[in-house]
Symmetry: C5
Subunit: 297 residues, 5 copies
């Protein structure tokens, strides 16, 4: 997640440098052609590129909307994971008549592990890195058999809850209520995976770039009578604005790519970590994740 701080210029410039290079070349070429063969270039009324510019704004606006919605939905999914993780531990504490808090702690820690594991899995990192201390050794062996590690952890949750019922620590009714919480975990996990694996219609992006370059070419022909020293910067700043917004949208679309614009899943998992440990009465809790220079992962 990008913070509301001064974002490094290098970070922003890097996003669009290759596009701006193309714009620069287009601008210079048009000027060269104008110099040497004025007669061959057509009259290009300025209304053509400005109408294209308006069209680009409208199409960009659609893209920003949809990309933002994906990013916000991803954030909502992780918000639901926070809420359900908290509810899950409180449910365990109030549904189990036993005074044996070991089983509650076991499930709470596995839930913490699940959050870290899911976050890393979505980002394409090693899903089980750092969760060894949070789950029993058996669990680690068990989840190795599965392609989908977080799903395997949920299955282990369900098995423990089944064991609680078989020993009559909880009745069927409360088991079903706990199952509802597991179903919500399964839903949240699947929703995050869906956002992660579904590619935003890629042709749209190509067509948008196509129109932006069309805008640049027509604008540079329209403005050929303006001095090159004014025209080229104008071309660059206007097209930079378009490309930057498109890139912002492009990055928001895929919020689990280990990039500064990601949903901050590590920080959220750490919040859950702190909350759940305090709910089960632990005193030593980890620190919240510190933000980097201008973002939080």
């Amino acid at each position: 997640m990008l913070l509301d701080k001064r974002i490094s210029f290098a970070y922003i410039f890097n996003k669009v440098k290759s596009e701006l290079l193309i714009v620069l070349i287009v601008g210079l070429l048009t000027n060269l052609i104008t110099l040497y063969s004025h007669a061959h270039l057509p009259e290009m009324p300025l209304t053509i590129p400005t109408f294209l510019g308006t069209a680009i704004s409208i199409l960009l606006s659609f893209k920003m909307n949809q990309s933002y919605d994906r990013w916000w939905e991803a954030r909502k999914v992780w918000g639901a994971i926070v809420n359900d993780s908290r509810s899950f531990v409180i449910q365990l504490q109030t549904f189990l008549d036993t005074d044996d808090t070991a089983i509650i702690r076991k499930l709470a820690y596995r839930q913490i592990a699940w959050c870290y594991c899911l976050g890393q899995s979505l980002r394409g990192l090693n899903p089980i890195e750092g969760i060894e201390g949070l789950i029993p050794a058996n669990d680690l062996i068990e989840i190795q058999k599965h392609t989908n590690k977080p799903l395997a952890l949920l299955q282990l949750h369900a098995q423990d809850i089944k064991a609680l019922r078989l020993t009559d620590t909880i009745d069927v009714f409360r088991q079903v209520q706990l199952d509802n919480t597991l179903v919500r975990f399964c839903d949240s996990m699947g929703k995050a995976e869906r956002i992660n694996s579904t590619i935003f219609p890629s042709t749209y992006r190509h067509f948008l770039y196509f129109i932006i370059y069309l805008f640049v070419v027509t604008l540079s022909i329209s403005l050929r009578n303006v001095q090159m020293i004014f025209e080229i910067p104008l071309l660059l700043v206007i097209s930079a604005a378009f490309f930057l917004i498109e890139k912002s949208a492009y990055h928001l679309q895929d919020p689990f790519r280990n990039r500064p614009s990601d949903v901050s899943v590590t920080a959220i998992a750490r919040t859950i970590d702190i909350n759940l440990r305090q709910l089960v009465g632990d005193q030593d809790v980890p620190e919240p994740v510190k933000p980097n220079e201008f973002y939080l992962l």
Copy 2:
């Protein structure tokens, strides 16, 4: 689902070749008429076509939005199918007190079959192709009696669950919880069918085309004083941009047509296949579906 790769130019060009041919003819005709009978063509101020162009962008933006929403809703429906399929197997495993895993495996495999069957049915393919190995022979006979094969499979699920209760393997309470999951399957199936069978208001498309051609005609009249060698390509690229976006929208609208822009239901069903087999402890799972050149089905 189109991948974020270089999409073949032929694929894109094929989408709009007939429209561009019409634009070409319009452009040539206008130029011809201008040549031979200049006096008869009206003055067409350039503001007319550019305002039409802005209007087209706005109307296209509406269409992209709604089409994208249909496509995204279809993807969400299949995401829900993934989530509920996983939850269903975990529920079966934790709700049945029996150690008899045969019945769980039977239901899990039928669930896999249901996913493939639904995907094929939506795409208008043979719904039962390839599912023979996943369900008992009786099931195959039974579903032949139904027009709607996936619905018949759900009914078989429900009958098996009823049998489990009649033998007291589960109680009423857990039966109802499993029934909730079946209701969600029924909902997802119906939602996908709804998207598939509801035609996006087709008049809108006709009116949009009407305005785009109006734009082309007025623009070509406006630009008649520009040399033909510049005017025709300009007409073609601008109208191509509009037609391509419209076509993208048109394809997104109907995400179950066995086209590259489809929701990748086969790949999703395969993911479910792998997950469910691993949940019931099978070792040999199929490979994920490999993407084609630039898309995944």
Copy 3:
């Protein structure tokens, strides 16, 4: 529901013929005034009508969005009716321990009747036409006492389910689960009634027409120097585009008016009819509703 076929030109033209007549008169009048009293008409810069045209596109876009949403919501409601009808029969089959399938068939057929009855009631047709064969004679007498026939049918459903519990064919728990399904029927019915009885803010439409006519008047004054033979058709086609989109929106707004653009509730009810009959094991099922020339009701 309009099909993706060639829609008859007469159908489309009929929608806007009176509006186009007004536009024609405005165009002719302006030309007449120009001829006889040029000096009295003001200079009208073309930017005025074109900016109005852009404004109209934006306002139309809002209207299309909201109208489409109403139509799509109506379609979703009927999709939910499909899903819940199927779930209802499957629930009855798995919740009743009895082998007596007569009661299940009775409820399934009444459910079919409810779908037809609701569709006809929404369209302002005779709600009980054609449902006599599907429900017992008592039911027919009973629902005559109610203004709202579909609601009366739901009450009869509930009474039958109560009777099943009083004879201990089902227990309280399953009764409540069936009640959940009835509540969803009641919700779907009410949602469709809401869309049907709520008038889209009508002033908006008047203001939109007002601006479109303002556009026509200013445009025709702006273009008075263009030859009448070119100006009048241009006026007509541009304003026709606006009026047609507005009319499309207007028709989508009210999707239960027995019009070609309706949600195809009869066809949907027929699908339910076929599905439910096959679920209860009937062999002879009716045919799907055949589409008319260019629409399906």
Copy 4:
């Protein structure tokens, strides 16, 4: 709710008369200044006001969207009240094993009272006017102690249901199902109160007016060379269009203000009244609310 009839011109004109007066004064002033001191007024290219006009359309479109959404959400809330009221009575009838219909009728009539009471309370009218005949005298005394009368009625509902359980007329399970319905009533009530008490960000409106007046001033300067007899009406009609749309939005925002554009809560409550009386078997039901000249309250 405004009907789809001819709405009185006086009603519409009254909404914007003060704004139009200001526009008239601005137009006359500009013309006066032009007459007497032409040199002092700047050149105002027409693109300035027309671009402002486009900006206004876009900002108005946002406002219409959000206002319409509030109004539609309010309508949905009342739709949910309709649905849940019907379900509530059907639930009571099927959940109570007793043949004592008095208690059902008592609850049904109190439910009717709750609908009227909530509607009047939202509109700032006397919340208990007209409901004396529908609830017992004790109830009237009890709700006097509460600031929030509809909430007090819901509490009485809950107490009656508790009494039914204490006498074993219903069991815990059905009590909980009825409680779910009460929770939905509580939600609908709170949602309507939220819409009613939350003020749409008021600065937005001020800024919008600011831009509209800026548009009027710049347009009147731009058009100063047009004859006053044409310019002033043009200024008035264009700005009237903007103001009227803004006013429509403004009225839709607050749908419980006892205005013609309100959600028709009295008529909806009457529909519930008729439905519930027929569900409990009453013969004499009240008439539906008659619409006024051009609206229904």
Copy 5:
């Protein structure tokens, strides 16, 4: 929440004074350069800034939409808290067979405390200020151990409900129904925290400012032939309109910052306070929160 009153000009002006200062400097600089070195400034056709102005409106419209949605979602979350708080107390009253109202009052007052505590916590104020009188001393000690105070209060709720079940005051079934309400509290709390801690993509804002300044620079160059006394105010008012709308959006984005544009959580918590006290039969209830000059917190 800003009220629908005359908002102090100082409040509004303060929001944008630094931006307007920059605009003023840009305007003056351009005029100076024009005076002394006319030849070096390029021709800037007015279509460039006006097309940028249209683009800004479109991008602002997207931002207003998303910001408003965040604010409205925040308001909905607090609406849900109102509804669930009321339902919670009614549930306690009807689910407990005991006549001991002390426990109900204890939970109701803790619920009031939770609302105040959550509101203050979201705004970064001392979360436990003013709630000492509402909860027992033990509770205060207990929540000190937690970073997240409102979550600790929910845990205490759950423990009390567990105690009620252990003493058989309620059965498992009603415990689960109360747990559903606690889950909803947990969800609402987490949703508000999500909105509070998620930063709206900050690059978007930078790019928007970038385009607005680009607009100002190009517009001031375009208008350099207009007298400075007219040009500078025009620059200021148009850019002020853009900046003000951007600032409105920016403030709506973060609705829990102890600012006049906040969601009025203190006032909402007070409403809950009054409602719950009256539900448990208390006579002396606090006064509603009085609005400040032009806002309500």
